[in-house]
Structure formats: C-alpha cells, structure tokens
C-alpha cells in the first residue's frame, strides 16, 4: 500500500481542495439563485455569497427577487442575510437555519437589469399598472353632478321599460279576454239556445210538456255554464283592471322614482352624511390594495414536483425518493429583521424579530410571524405584529398600534389635504381567503384640514367649517374582499361638515333632481299619455262582458 501512495500527489489533492474552497462560494451563489428562481418562478439573484467555515455560517449579500409583473422592479431586496448554516447543506439548495439576520429589507425597488424569465412585458401592461395605481378621486355630491343627457337615456329608462311591460300585459290580456267573450257570444251557439228555447215553449199537452222537461234542464245547464264562465270572466277582468290601474299609477310616478334611482346610482344621495368616508375611504382602500399586492405573492411557491422524464444524452434523469421530512427551500426559524417599507408607500423603517420565515409553510407546518417596531422621525412609538398562515387557508392578521404619529401634508384625496395632525392609531386587520375584516381607530388632535382644489370655492361656509376642525375621531370598519374592500367610516367630521354642506347643497340637489324628473317626463310624455288611452281602451271591454251576461240572463229568465 505504501508503494501505491504518491506523496507529492497529496499536495496536488490539497490544491484541489483549496480550489474547491474557492469555487464553493460562486457554486453556492449559483445553486441558491437557481433553486430560488425555480421555486418562486421569478428571477432570484445574489450579489455575493461568503462562507464562514469557523461558525459555520453563510452571508448572502444583495438578494434581489424580481417582480413577475414588472421585470425592471424587485418585489423584494435584502442587503444582507446572515444564516447559521453549513455550506454543504446549502449546496443542496436549501437554506434552513435556526437563526438568521436579515438586514436592509426593501420592497418594490428598481432593478438595473431585467428580471424577466419568461413572459414578455409590454408597455401596455405598464400603462395598465399606472392607470390602476391612479386611485380613486373624491367627488362630493352636488359639486360635480353628472350631465343629465348622459344620465337620462330612453333605452336605459326604468319608466320606459315599465311602459313597455304595461303595453305587453294589456295586449296579452286583451287578446285572451276577446277570445273568451267571443266564445260566450258565439252567434251559432246563441241561435241554438234560442231554437231550443222556442221548441220547449211550443210544446203542447201534458205529455208534450213532460217530454220537454229534460230538454229544458239541459238548456238551463248549458246557459248556467256560460253564465258561470261570464262571471269568472268578469272576476278575471276586474283583476286585470286593478293591475292595469296599479301599473298606470306606478308609471305616472315612475319619472320621479327613476330620478331618485339614477341619482342614487351616481352617488347623489345621502348628501354629505359620509364626508369622512369620502375623505379617508380612498386612502384606506389604497393601503388595503397595497396589502393585497404584498400578500398576493405569498404562498405561491410551488412544492417540488417530480421532474419530467426526458432523458437527455449525458444528463440522465433524477429519480425522486420520498424524504422522511421534506424541507422547504428557505426556513429561518428565528430571525432578526430590519428594513424599510417605503417601497410599499408606507413611510416607515422597521426592525424586529420574525419566526418561521419560509417559502413553504405546508412543509414547516408553522405560520410566519413578525413583531416589528416601526421607525419614523414623525412617530413617537409604533408597533406592528403580522401573522401569515398559509397552511390550509390564507389567513393574514395585522395589528398595529401607533402613538403620536405626526402627520404632515398628507394628501387625502383629490382635493383634500391633511396639513397636519397628531394621530394615535390602533388597527386590527384580518384577511381570510381574501375576505377582509377588521377595525381601524384613529384619534387625531391638532388637526389642520384644507381643501386644495376649487371644490369648495362655491361654498365658503364649508371651507370655513373644514378649517375649524381641530380634532378628528374616526372609526373604520373593514369588510368585503381585498379586491373590493368595504370601508365604513364613522367620524365627528361627518356631523361638522354634513350640516354645513347639507345646507349648501340642499338647494342645488333639489333643482337637479327636479331637472332629471322633468327630463324624464318630457322624454316619456307620449308613453305616459298613451298609458291612459290603453287603460280606457281596455276598460271598454267591460261593456262587452256585461252585454253577454245580460243576454244569457234574459234567456235564463225566459226559461
């Protein structure tokens, strides 16, 4: 054996091992990037990986996870990740560690190179995104009323539809009753009755009259049957007359009702009862939309699926064996995290702890939770606790408590600005399979609320009322889904502003409503007057029914 060893070769082997040592870092970088990209279906890149063999631990710097929808942006960027993990374990593509530190977490940052891995992103998509993010604009009823011509269109008119329905109802019933009256007044049948009557009357002698008794009985039964039908006809007719009267009356009142309905549809209803809703609603909905975008990527990571069996020359195929405990790609059981939410439009830095950060909760069987301190020069103290549970359902719970948040020049919506205010905010928001629930309570003092556009130019009293508000208490209740969140806000603002604005808007709204009603009246003038004609024409059939009934009664009386 001694003769088999090449002692100088040991040096070469040592060189090889050293070479491997130098190669392992780029190799790890490659493995992690590839595994991440495959698992998240978006480009995952690293600036550098360095191995500390003494601890052992890995330091990953410049992690970038590209946004699938916008390849020139990163969904997530982390400046540095330090993980207590053996380098050989990391070579298998799994980053599983009891302890990790994630520094410089940022969201929605720009990329220098495209993160596209498959789908082509066109400018149209980008435009769509810009349009989407433009958000809702605020419009107060009465101050921005819709064009009446646009609002009132015959083909969409409820009154016109009611008129058409009435016409159809009358035509159908008229035809049915005409057929029933014609059947009763059938000349052949009446002549037959008369002939049979004559025959009965002409009978002579006891035996002759006795013979006619059964014939008289038959005739009576026939006439009784017709009379019964005539009575039913009357009953049915009266019923339809009542319905027609109701419909005509409804039609007469319809333009007014329709005006109310149309105004309600375009938001000209309720006056200024919900000013706070209009002021803060769009803003809150904007944050909820961000929450949806933030969480939409979660839980998308696919569990490893068996690779397709395609045998390439020189590559073979990998046969999969069930692992006793399949591991996720990433699992940081405990982690210290720090970063910045500004990319999400939330002006806070953060630091804190997280547990069970992973790409596959189904494998770790633990929810991810974060306890963060939110950092901002303008806030006294702010805590945020987040729990993300995607194991069975998608449940995300978020609790925040902010004290002394100095709001400065916060644009609330199109024409309003919260120039300053000191807010205490407590929010509890939960989403369960996209269903939203929760509350946001805000107590704001030292408030200065101004309108920035010309919305209130016509209403100086409202502008003054707005300026006089120094304290805002608002309680928002969230419902609906993340796509269509329902935000109901109750606030003292409502009382203050609604009285002022209601007064200012009352007259204008009344005029507008009258104009809409008048326009509907004019547009449907023909139909409304035609309704009376239809009713009168229909009622004319009443004489026919009565005449038929009288004729049958006369015949019966003769018997």
């Amino acid at each position: 054996m001694k003769g088999m060893i090449r002692w100088s070769g040991l040096g070469v082997a040592a060189v090889l091992v050293i070479l491997a040592y130098f190669v392992i870092e780029p190799l790890l970088k490659f493995v992690i990037e590839q595994a991440g990209t495959r698992a998240l279906s978006t480009k995952v890149s690293l600036h550098e990986v360095s191995v500390d063999w003494a601890k052992p631990s890995l330091a990953l710097t410049g992690l970038e996870v590209a946004d699938k929808k916008q390849p020139m942006r990163n969904q997530l960027e982390v400046d540095e990740i330090s993980v207590s993990i053996d380098a050989f374990e990391a070579l298998s593509g799994h980053l599983i560690s009891d302890q990790a530190k994630l520094k410089g977490i940022q969201f929605n940052t720009e990329r220098t190179t495209s993160g596209e891995i498959g789908d082509i992103v066109t400018l149209d998509n980008v435009d769509d995104k810009v349009t989407e993010s433009a958000g809702e604009a605020l419009s107060l009823p009465g101050l921005d009323l819709p064009d009446i011509d646009e609002l009132v269109k015959k083909e969409n008119s409820l009154t016109y539809q009611r008129y058409q329905a009435l016409k159809q109802y009358v035509d159908a019933n008229k035809e049915a009753f005409k057929q029933r009256i014609d059947a009763l007044k059938d000349e052949k049948k009446i002549d037959d009755y008369k002939a049979r009557f004559k025959e009965i009357k002409s009978a002579k002698g006891f035996m002759g009259k006795l013979k006619m008794v059964s014939k008289a009985k038959d005739l009576k039964e026939d006439i009784d049957g017709d009379l019964k039908e005539a009575k039913q006809l009357r009953k049915d007719f009266d019923k339809t007359v009542a319905e027609i009267k109701r419909r005509v009356a409804e039609l007469k009142d319809s333009p007014k009702q329709e005006a109310d309905h149309l105004l309600h549809k375009v938001g000209v209803e309720g006056g200024t009862d919900q000013v706070a809703q209009m002021l803060f609603g769009p803003e809150l909905k904007g944050y909820l939309k961000q929450l949806k975008e933030m969480t939409s990527g979660m839980g998308e990571a696919k569990a490893s699926e068996p690779e397709e069996v395609v045998v390439e020359r020189g590559k073979g195929i990998f046969v999969r064996f069930d692992q006793e405990r399949p591991q996720p790609l990433v699992w940081f059981k405990k982690a210290e995290v720090s970063g910045d939410f500004s990319g999400l439009g939330v002006p806070f830095g953060f630091n804190g702890t997280a547990s069970d950060i992973t790409d596959q909760q189904k494998l770790t069987d633990k929810p991810t939770s974060l306890d963060l301190k939110l950092l901002n020069d303008q806030v006294k103290s702010a805590d945020l606790a987040v729990s993300v549970d995607l194991r069975k359902q998608s449940i995300i719970a978020l609790e925040t408590n902010m004290q002394g948040y100095q709001v400065d020049k916060l644009p609330l919506s199109g024409d309003f600005e919260l120039s300053k205010g000191l807010a205490d905010i407590v929010a509890k928001i939960k989403t369960q399979d996209e269903q939203l629930s929760g509350t946001v309570n805000m107590d704001m003092s030292a408030v200065s609320l101004t309108s920035t556009g010309d919305m209130f130019e016509k209403y100086p009293s409202a502008k003054d009322a707005l300026a006089s508000i120094s304290n805002i208490d608002a309680d928002a209740t969230l419902s609906g889904s993340l796509d269509q969140p329902g935000v109901a806000i109750k606030s003292n603002l409502d009382d203050v502003l609604s009285s002022v604005l209601n007064k200012a808007l009352e007259g204008q709204l009344a005029t507008y409503k009258a104009e809409v009603t008048e326009r509907l009246d004019a547009m449907l003038q023909d139909e409304l007057s035609d309704a009376d004609t239809i009713k009168a024409d229909y009622l004319g059939m009443s004489g026919d029914i009565d005449g038929t009934k009288k004729l049958l009664n006369d015949l019966l009386g003769g018997l």
Partner: protein, 168 residues
C-alpha cells in the same frame, strides 16, 4: 494518433509498475464514465492525485472513455434507472437521500448510478486484467514483436524517432 500510440508503447515497454498502469486505466475509465455534475468526480480526481496512477496513461484512458461514455450513454442510463427504481433497493436509496452529502453526489441520477455501478463492477477485473496484460506483454509479446522485420523497419522510421523522443 501516432503520438498517442507511441506513448502507449513507451509506457508498456517502460519499467513502470504494472499496478500503477492498472490504476491509471481504472481511474481513466471511472472519470471518463462519470458525468461531470457529480461530486464523485472531485473525489476521483483527488484519488488520482493521491494514488500512484500513471498520469499519462490515465489521461489517455480518460479521453478514450469519454467517447465510450457518450456511445454507451443510453445503456448506462438504463442500468442506473433500473437500480434506482428496483423495489428491493428503495429503502437504501430512501435512506441516502436524507443526507445532504449524498444528495450532492447526485447518486439518484440514472447516469451517475449507471456509471458508478459499471465502475464498481469493472474496477477489479480491469485492474487485474491490465496487470496481467502488462506482465504478459513485457514477458512474451515485447520480445516476440521486436523480432518482426516490420518492427525493425519501423525502428528506422519517423515513428521510432518519435517514440525515442518521448524519453523514459
């Protein structure tokens, strides 16, 4: 081609220990057959360095078996696939896959497994046969071959100068 053949003859005719030549053939065969993405390859290279395998012959055989591996790729895949999907071995593979080290060797790849099995089966016979061949060649064939007129003619040719030029 002539150079390679000349090198081969030179090695056979040299005083090199037959077992060193046999090791070179075995390592050349192993590294030639083993796909590049397995960690086994690194270990084999380290072993080549540590054991006294003749490096010239190793390089020659390695090159030869790279070609052989390409030709026999489907057969190696089939051997590996059959072994990996054999129910009686499932427990063994299932146990190995739990370890990160074994995962890095890519043993669950059909080609790696096929190559590994082939190497294990061929190693000892190839080793022994190479030693036997070298000994036989040196004992009988070498003297016998040199008696041929053609060989004597060759000795005066360019090939022989090439052969001589290779040095010991």
């Amino acid at each position: 081609m002539l150079t390679i053949f000349a090198k081969l003859l030179k090695l056979l005719n040299s005083d090199q220990n037959p077992s060193h030549l046999a090791l070179a053939v075995c390592f050349g065969l192993a590294i030639g057959l083993m796909p590049g993405f397995s960690m086994f390859l690194l270990f084999l290279f380290i072993l080549v360095c540590v054991f006294k395998a003749n490096l010239t012959l190793f390089l020659l055989v390695w090159g030869l078996f790279e070609g052989v591996a390409y030709i026999f790729d489907p057969a190696l895949h089939q051997v590996g696939y059959n072994l990996l999907t054999n129910p009686s071995l499932a427990e063994l593979w299932g146990g190995l896959i739990q370890s990160s080290f074994w995962k890095l060797t890519a043993f669950n790849n059909s080609l790696v497994m096929g190559a590994t099995a082939t190497i294990l089966v061929l190693w000892v016979p190839v080793y022994l046969l190479t030693i036997l061949f070298v000994k036989k060649y040196r004992g009988n064939v070498q003297k016998f071959v040199e008696k041929f007129k053609i060989v004597q003619m060759l000795k005066g040719s360019k090939f022989y100068k090439l052969y001589e030029g290779l040095g010991a």
